[in-house]
Symmetry: C2
């Protein structure tokens, strides 16, 4: 077992999960703030130069784990490790955000999809991505194709 | 505080951190296996259709946290949240791997950079990336330019 502690908290416009855009084609353009606890602020040194960050956080208000669930994108069930469901064995969330600016303990970012007050576990620089033409997206691509008709 | 438990373990060719390619231009082409505990195997349903996965894991043999550290890519110090250092407040690692195939509890993957025996906390499908031309990579790009010089 491993014990994790928050390094900060997310300020987001979403008070309720119903407000968060979900499903196929959902755009995450909301702005928010990663408010880092003062004791961890030295760890932010030089972060301003990165355009994008990985934020690792806790689904602190998720229901109990469901190994097979129904994502909003499909009418068929899928395994939790093949989805972004909150009901995971370890309730860890992962979001890529664009860094807008930093003001001391506060990183203003674009692309939040977390609830207001969500605890942050870690921040990492985004260094490179997988090119679109190398990606296969399994059941999600199939569901999108069915919806598109 | 949040308590996390392993969902499985990584079988990798690396017994020691000195064997893991590091620094600028390091290529992660090693194959490994994500060996998932039997109780979590239903959660893998439909994962085979995804070409790439995020693996969230624990630096279980890392030294103590260093908020300012010296990454192998540069001779200047940087904040831990602007690096991939193992010495983080929460020792969480994040790796994108390519899924080669699945055999029951075992996901064979390409691109491991973890030590053999590393505990896995979560697996998520990789759905999209940030285009290369939208990325800024701060001190890392500057250090690479100095080295190329």
């Amino acid at each position: 077992m491993f014990t994790m502690r928050p390094i900060g908290v997310i300020k987001s416009p979403y008070a309720d999960t119903a407000q968060i855009p979900k499903g196929s084609g959902a755009q995450h353009t909301a702005e928010g703030v990663l408010e880092i606890l003062p004791e961890f602020v030295p760890g932010l040194t030089d972060i301003e130069g990165f355009s994008h960050l990985f934020v690792i956080w806790v689904f602190d208000r998720a229901g109990k784990c469901e190994l097979i669930g129904h994502p909003p994108t499909d009418d068929r069930p899928h395994g939790v490790f093949a989805t972004r469901s909150s009901r995971r064995p370890n309730p860890i969330g992962l979001t890529v955000v664009r860094l807008l600016d930093r003001d001391g303990t506060r990183l203003r970012v674009c692309g939040v999809d977390m609830l207001d007050g969500t605890p942050i576990l870690d921040i990492k620089p985004y260094l490179s991505g997988v090119p679109e033409d190398e990606l296969c997206r399994g059941w999600l691509a199939e569901a999108e194709a069915r919806i598109a008709g």
